[in-house]
Structure formats: structure tokens, C-alpha cells
Amino acid sequence: MKLSTFKPAWPWASLATLLASAPAAFGQATAPAPDKIAALEGLVSAAQTSGDNAWMLTSAALVLMMTGPALALFYSGLVRSKNVLGTMMQSFVLMALVSVLWAVVGYSIAFGEGNAFFGNPMQYFLLSGVEGAPNGDYAPTIPHQTFMVFQLMFAIITPGLICGAYAERMKFSAMVLFSTLWLLLVYCPMAHMVWGKGGYFNAFLPPAGGGIRAFDFAGGTVVHITSGISALVCAILLGPRKGYGKEPMKPHSLVLSFIGACLLWVGWFGFNAGSALGAGPVATSAFVATHFGAAAATLGWLGMEWIRSGKPSVLGGISGAVAGLVAITPASGFVKPGPALIIGFAAGIFCYLMCAVVKNKFGYDDSLDAFGVHGAGGTLGAILTGVFATNAVNSALKDGDKPAALGLIDGAGYQVVNQIIASGVAWAIAIAGSFVLLKLVDMIVGLRLSEEDERDGLDLSQHGEEGYNLES
């Protein structure tokens, strides 16, 4: 889909010129002059830019909506009412904080040209050189700025997902400091390795000397494994909430969570179909796979719940949908609808067992199941991508002049091993990075609220306000 002939021509001016000279051109029996062909090519690429850019800007907005309000509503409904604002604030402050970090140096670490693990932080420092002209390596038909801002929205939601693990007990100052360091030292390098030019796992822009070919269409390793595994580290290092397992800690409003989950489902079309970086058939394929993955996972989770505890619940349905969306994320854009149903259904069952059985067995307080849904679902999806990826859906990767075999069903069984290696590396980076950063933040500002502040709740102790003033 790369257009080497792209020229950012002003389409209407060129069209007028072309029309003015048309009678002369068609009046002659000779072939069109080379400059006419060039002008036409310019118009074609300008038209494609318009179409692709419209979809990509829409997608970027959809992905921002996944953090605020979608994730904020989903998570804040699951906490107790005294923590509703504090939980929303965690998502919201990341919308601001990560944006600033991304502009200064984050984008450059992730997508600058460096070595196989880090981008050069100075290449796009303060977004210098990131302008209207496309970056031919990443997305040749849209402005480089569109690509940058689309990727920013991914960087915002990823640390936001971790909030589910340390909910109701982490200091706001610690959360801000941890998220800052985590974004720059865990997320950005991981994004570089998988999506950055010359990144170690980048299948499409491989490093000189070769790395390991891994497929991650929209962020199974980069987004969901890094955040989900870091979430587990947070849950273990912070320890359980006061009274966990003894006092009831029921979700205070599944109504909020329901609205959040439905918005996540819609926003995810931008996340996955937008990751096609254009508005062509691969975007449609990713859109379709995303939807079927979510649908099958909803039924998988509900079925398990119905069998094991006698009642299918609303929380089960929406959790299943999110689990399916997580698992289909790396596979969307590489798989057909049938495998999307299989991946989703498997994720619904697997993530249910991780949240309802495994968590209880080990006793960690992953309060809102960031690990059980994102860590578990992300890993499952990353591995199954290696099974079901096919060049019938995505032929961008070439083997000579033919589309390369992608996954096990294309005959490339080694891809499953590659996916396991990439997932393992993402696990390792998330564990090591989060462990060190949490220890560091604990030394600087302290991770946990005081017992009194935790009892009062985040809203009062951290922000000096309450979410529900029903008597006023």
C-alpha cells in the first residue's frame, strides 16, 4: 500500500489546471504527456490521503474516548463510592500527562530511529520534524502528525489500564510519578521494539541484521501484556486493600461500568481498525474481527458464569466483551472472522477463570482485574495470532514477490514460537521495569495511602471532594 509517488499537492488547484488543459490533451491522438500523468498521480494520492486521513483522525478521537470517559466509567463503577472520583481522575490525568510526555520525548523514544530497543529521543524531540508530510516508513498516505497523534492515544490508555490493579489504595502523587517513568521506560521502548523502525520484533521494518518477526496488529504485547503484567506487579507490591477478603468490596455502580464497557467496544473499532493506518480492506477486516471477537467472548464468559455460579451477570457480560476485545487486538488485521470468533470465545472462558478462580487461589488483590483481563487476554491473543494470522487477510509482508506465509494456518508454524518469545520478552520487561520503578517511587513519595486516607477514600483524601453529594 506504500505509495512512493505521493505528492502533497493541493488537489483542487491541480484539478483546475488539468481540466483547463483537458480539451487539448484529449484532442490529440498522441499519448498523454508525462507531466499530465504525474499530475493525475498526484491527484490520486491526494484523494487517498483525504480518505485515509479522515478515518485516522476519527480513529484517534475514538481511541481517546476509550480512556475518557470509557475506561474511567468502567473502572470507577467497580470501586466503592468513596473512590469514584479518584478513579476517574487517574484516567483523566493520564490524558494530560501522557500527551505532554509524548510531545517532549515519548514519541521520539517509541518511533525515532535508534537501535532495536530504543528510538533516538532527540530525533523528534518536541515533535520537531513531525509535520504535515507523511512518514513513508510508518504510514505513507497520512500526515506524520496524524500518525503521531493516533499513537499518542494508545500511549494514554496503556498506563490507564494499570489503574485497575492499584485501585482504591495508591497515592495520587505516586500514581503520577510511576505512570511518567513507566511510560518512558517500559511503554515507549516496547512500542519501539514492536512497531518502531528497526525494532527487534518489527515484522515490517526489521532491524539491520534481523530480529524476531512478531505480529502485533494493534497492541497485544505493547498495550495489553505490558499493562496487564505491570498490573500484577503493582497488585503484589502494594498489597491488598485494607479489609480485602473480610469486608464486602462490591462495585458501587455497575451502571457506570456498563456505559463504560459499551463505549470501550465502540472505541475499540478506532483502536484496531485504525491500526491499519488507512481506510482500506485491512481496516475493514480488523473492524469485523474486533466485533466478532467481543461478541464471542461475551458469550464465553456468560456461559462459564451461568454454569459455575448459576446466574449470568451484567458484570460478567461486559467483562467478557472487554476480554474479547483485548485478545483480538493483536490478531485483528491478520485473521478472518471465523478465527476471531474462536479467539474471542477462548478469551471469554480463559479470562473468567483467571479472575474468578486463579486470583482467589493466589490471593493477590488485582482489584479490578487488570491482570486477569489484560495480562491474560493479551497473552492468549498474542499467541493465537501466531496460529491464525493469514496472508489472505493481510498481504503487506512479501516473500520475494508473493505474500509471505504469516501464521500456523499459512504453514508458518514457527510463528507461534515467535509470538511466545515476543510475549515472554514483554512479560519480562513489564515485570522488571515495574518492580524497579515501584521500588523507586516508594522511596521518593511512598506508594500507599495512609490507613486513615484509605479508609476515607481517594475522593476526600487525595482530591478534597466527593462524587455524590446527594443531600446538597
Binding site: K250, S309, S313, L315, G316, Y352, C355, A356
Partner: protein
């Protein structure tokens, strides 16, 4: 004068109110409360975590009537609030020493 304090099922409140109105009782105070007697609570499950909810929502209806009307009110109230199942609630009776109307210092049964 007696104070009648009835703990009833919340979904029976409207019927009780109508029945009392039917026998000419206009004044009452209603509070949403939680509690349990012999009725067992219920189980709620959130992502596999089970919670036993043993304090159930109830309505507390309080009214003060003259001694002559006590039995009539109790009969009406129990008839309206009864489903015949565990959890229907209870009625407690208290003696009332005095009733005073704040608006004009009036005292006694005529204030009711």
C-alpha cells in the same frame, strides 16, 4: 396514646399507606432501614467473588394513635403488609407520654 412501629417489606409500603388512609390515619413517618430477623440474606457474585448480603432493605413506619384505635390500626396494618412468607417484618408497640404540636403548643390526643 401508643406509638406503633412497624418494620415492613419495602414493596408493601404503598399498600400499607393506602390501607391506613382508608381507616382515616393520615400522619406517619417512614424511614428506609436495613436489617434482618429470621429471614436469611442473599448471595451476590461479582466476577466469581461471593458476597453474602444479610442486612436487607426494609421500611420502618412509625405512627402514634389514641389507645382506642390501636387494635384497629394493627389489624389493618398486618393485613396490608402480610405476604405469609418469612421476612414480612414485625410491629412493636410503645406507650407515649405526651404529644405536643410545635405550631401552637397544643397537647394530648387532639394533636394526632
Amino acid at each position: 396514646m401508643k406509638k406503633i412501629e412497624a418494620i415492613i417489606q419495602p414493596f408493601k409500603l404503598e399498600e400499607v399507606k393506602e390501607a391506613l388512609k382508608g381507616i382515616g390515619i393520615d400522619g406517619m413517618t417512614v424511614t428506609e432501614v436495613r436489617g434482618h430477623g429470621r429471614q436469611k440474606g442473599h448471595k451476590e457474585v461479582y466476577r466469581g467473588q461471593e458476597y453474602m448480603v444479610d442486612l436487607l432493605p426494609k421500611c420502618k413506619v412509625e405512627l402514634v394513635v389514641g389507645d382506642s384505635r390501636v387494635e384497629e390500626v394493627i389489624k389493618t396494618l398486618t393485613a396490608a403488609a402480610r405476604t405469609g412468607k418469612i421476612g414480612d417484618g414485625k410491629i412493636f408497640l410503645y406507650d407515649v407520654a405526651e404529644a405536643i404540636r410545635i405550631r401552637n403548643d397544643e397537647r394530648g390526643e387532639s394533636t394526632l
